[in-house]
């Protein structure tokens, strides 16, 4: 009996102590929800920011971009986060003007598992589109062979692995393919979940990585960091200038620098298939979404301060977590845009 009672006392004590401790140390709590892709860096940021400002606790739920936009619209959270910009309809549904603030960048890479091929394969956008459309069914297809002379491509069926869950990763990938292949655009289109003509679906980046790793002859797409972590070979992709570029933090940031030159005022820009030297074509921003004139001035002020910190000091945490930091031009534009938030 005794140890049980002791344990009970300890549990009850802990339960009582917890909320008490947080209530005294943190006076402001801000809730946000949205994309899963930037979750690791966001949670790092919120933790680091909390070290600097112990009175502020920012709480982020990675429920998916679509969910984040929905909750922001319903004003159940203070800020949202998304891997794809809000559509015009979504903006109209929102309870005010929403500011899109790019935070970091990510790249999506084509991964494959071909027995006997360990090196890097070269792809063009149209070849990738034809593979996922089911038009290229064998690895020794002429179109792939022509890009990769000397690589011993086997007479093996291609198995396409895609995301089964709705995902910002899918959005970036199909956004790129729709730009380079009119056929893909008309047959599949752009969304976080699409009607794939062929292939098998894996849940999450890790699901697709698992499928590709295990299935000989498979082709899939994952965030760069997952390919590196799972040691899956990933290919280079031809950019608009005709170069074959491998995804890296530099080549992804390069895509954003080019985009910065014609950045629209609302930052709602797709940087897939961006022109320029050394640019990796399947790159994208991920955004934090804030209302421009919120009713809660106190929280708004804190969020603006947080964003300023994240865009400057916070950027140094990006690389170690596999994200490409924002180019300086974009940061400067965003600092200007933050003034639009009325606090």
């Amino acid at each position: 009996m005794k140890p049980i009672r002791l344990l009970l006392a300890a549990v009850v004590g802990a339960l009582l102590a917890l909320p008490g401790a947080t209530a005294t140390a943190q006076n402001v709590q801000i809730n946000g929800a949205g994309a899963t892709f930037p979750y690791p860096i966001y949670s790092k940021w919120f933790a680091e920011y909390n070290k600097l400002h112990p009175e502020v606790a920012i709480n982020y739920q990675s429920i998916g971009s679509g969910g984040g936009i929905r909750q922001l619209t319903n004003q159940t959270v203070f800020f949202g986060a998304s891997d794809g910009p809000m559509t015009s309809e979504q903006q109209q549904a929102a309870a005010g003007r929403v500011l899109h603030l790019p935070t970091v960048l990510g790249g999506v890479v084509p991964v494959y598992n071909i027995p006997g091929v360990t090196g890097e394969l070269k792809f063009t956008g149209t070849v990738i589109a034809d593979i996922v459309l089911g038009k290229i069914t064998k690895w020794n297809n002429g179109a792939i062979a022509a890009l990769n002379p000397g690589v011993p491509l086997p007479d093996l069926d291609v198995t396409v692995a895609h995301r089964s869950d709705g995902s910002g990763t899918t959005y970036i990938f199909v956004d790129y393919l729709s730009k380079v292949s009119p056929e893909f655009k008309s047959k599949v289109g752009v969304a976080t979940a699409v009607n794939w003509p062929v292939g098998v679906g894996g849940k999450g980046n890790e699901g697709v990585a698992g499928l590709v790793k295990q299935t000989p002859g498979s082709f899939g797409y994952v965030e760069l960091i997952y390919a590196i972590q799972n040691k899956i070979p990933y290919g280079s992709v031809q950019n608009m200038d005709g170069e074959f570029v491998k995804s890296s933090l530099e080549s992804v940031t390069a895509a954003a620098s080019v985009a910065a030159k014609q950045m629209p005022k609302d930052f709602r820009v797709s940087i897939t298939n961006a022109p320029g030297k050394g640019v990796y074509p399947i790159s994208s921003f991920t955004w934090i979404l804030l209302y421009e004139s919120p009713s809660d001035k106190q929280r708004s002020k804190i969020m603006v301060d947080f964003m300023k910190w994240a865009l400057t000091d916070g950027q140094k945490f990006a690389a170690e977590l596999g994200y490409a930091p924002l180019p300086a031009e974009v940061v400067a534009l965003e600092m200007e845009a933050l003034k639009r938030i009325k606090v």
Partner: protein, 329 residues
């Protein structure tokens, strides 16, 4: 209690009856509430697609075209496959444990079987991805060409697909079917067996008699497992390949209703899309009700035939709920 006036006793009784009746009524309220809410939230989709939702095969969020047939197909296919695979095993376990097992083995074996039910579904899924799927792929590669000509075994060897899903579901529902069947067999009166032995029956024949006696209960146990299989989500989505296309093949990647809700709910960005996903939940709910009704009828007709009453337990599976926020990667 002796001294209690009868009026007070009846008041107590009435209170007790009202109390328990209220709890029983809560269940009814809950089921009706779930149905109503599913119906209300899927109204947009119901109005747009009508009955076509049940019989079309395109699921295209971009174009706003939603048809549930591939998911209905995949759900029923995987659950029936699991039933076919698990029933002999579950019955074997139940018979061994209740009739044949030495006493020393009985408790540990019972415990281990029931432990299967306690393993979280995500763990089954991970085991499926890393252990079961590679084995299934090897089996599929080994399949001789003449066999592959049958639609049931056609298609490339992916590993993930209907067969892997059926196998994992079978393992998951074995404990339900076997432990309830075991209880049913234990409840068969000893006189039944004694009578069989007295007539000179062998052990096998005596067991047959016991099985016959308890068959309504056993049928109920099997249907309980079937209900579980219909609603299972996480383990299935991890191994089935999540491809909404109808195929008769065991080797093909397919999809289920519960899996599509779990997969796509978080990112469903248009009202129609969300509504269509909720309608999938409604379809699953309705199918579950129908299947339960059919199994009740089966049990009823069997029990009427043998004129014995063994309580059959058929619990409805939990209707598919959207995944908890944050569960999706």
């Amino acid at each position: 209690m002796k001294k209690t006036p009868s009026s007070r006793r009846s008041a107590d009784d009435r209170g007790f009856r009202l109390g328990t009746g209220f709890f029983a009524f809560l269940v009814v309220l809950l089921v009706v509430g779930i149905f109503f809410e599913l119906f209300r939230t899927s109204e947009l989709s119901i109005r747009k697609f009508g009955f076509n939702f049940w019989r079309t095969t395109t699921w295209d969020p971009v174009a706003g075209q939603f048809g549930a047939l591939p998911f209905i197909w995949g759900t029923l296919y995987s659950a029936i496959l699991a039933l076919v695979l698990s029933t002999p095993v579950a019955l074997g376990i139940a018979i061994f444990l209740s009739e044949l097992s030495p006493r020393v083995l009985r408790t540990p074996l019972t415990f281990l079987t029931e432990l299967l039910a306690a393993i979280p579904s995500i763990v089954y899924g991970l085991w499926g991805i890393f252990v079961l799927v590679p084995v299934v792929r090897k089996l599929e590669i080994m399949t001789p060409d003449w066999l592959k000509k049958f639609p049931l075994f056609s298609g490339p060897p992916l590993g993930v697909g209907m067969l892997a899903a059926g196998l994992i579901l079978a393992v998951m529902i074995i404990p339900f079917a076997s432990s309830v069947s075991r209880e049913v067999l234990k409840a068969v009166p000893a006189t039944q067996r004694e009578a069989a032995y007295a007539l000179g029956a062998t052990r096998w024949e005596a067991i047959q008699a016991a099985l016959r006696f308890g068959r309504t209960g056993i049928l109920g146990a099997i249907m309980l497992g079937f209900g579980r299989a219909l609603g299972e989500t996480m383990a299935v989505t991890m191994v089935i390949g999540n491809n909404p296309r109808i195929s008769p093949s065991l080797f093909a990647a397919q999809h289920t209703m519960a899996a599509v809700i779990a997969n796509e709910f978080t990112e469903a960005d248009t009202d129609l899309y969300l509504s269509a996903l909720v309608e999938i939940g409604l379809v699953l709910f309705v199918l579950t009700v129908i299947i339960n009704a059919v199994s009740r009828f089966l049990i009823w007709s069997v029990s009427r035939e043998v004129k014995v009453k063994v309580v059959a337990t058929v619990a409805p599976p939990a209707p598919a709920e959207p995944e908890a926020p944050g569960a999706a990667a």
